[in-house]
Symmetry: C2
Subunit: 87 residues, 2 copies
């Protein structure tokens, strides 16, 4: 079967309830800049992967494996995968 | 007017065409792990902001200002704002 190229975005975020010092720092900086209505900020990673696969489902399954094996820390982070977009 | 709470996500990515050493490193690591079909990886930040505003449009406008003033580097990064979700 011929492979097609797909673009898939992954969001990796600190697990809820864990400390997020980077987010707390940004919250403080925004308050100092006058954005007083900000309640909280959480910082994660936005990773865009272009990969080849026979179809969108297999592309997503492959990215799921990448997250489990390399991209996300299974102890401290959660990830979500957006649906594959053909290129 | 009474304020409501909204959750807004922002994706901040390196501007297209600029070097992305972190993305290149991850691409190489994925190839080493057997994901040979990966073409490219781009790494940005995924920031989730909870803020109060009279309505969704003003919440989004406020986050746009935060990106311009603090969160994104206007020389090297692009950002996109997702629509405000009431909490």
């Amino acid at each position: 079967m011929k492979n097609r190229a797909y673009r898939i975005a992954v969001h990796i975020v600190p697990r809820a309830g864990l400390l997020d010092p980077q987010g707390n720092t940004i919250t403080g900086a925004l308050h100092s800049l006058g954005f007083k209505h900000v309640r909280s900020v959480h910082v994660g990673r936005h990773i865009v992967i272009e990969t080849e696969a026979p179809d969108a489902l297999q592309a997503e399954a492959s990215v799921q494996q990448m997250c489990e094996k390399l991209l996300a820390n299974p102890v401290t982070e959660d990830f979500e995968i957006t649906s594959a977009v053909p290129l």
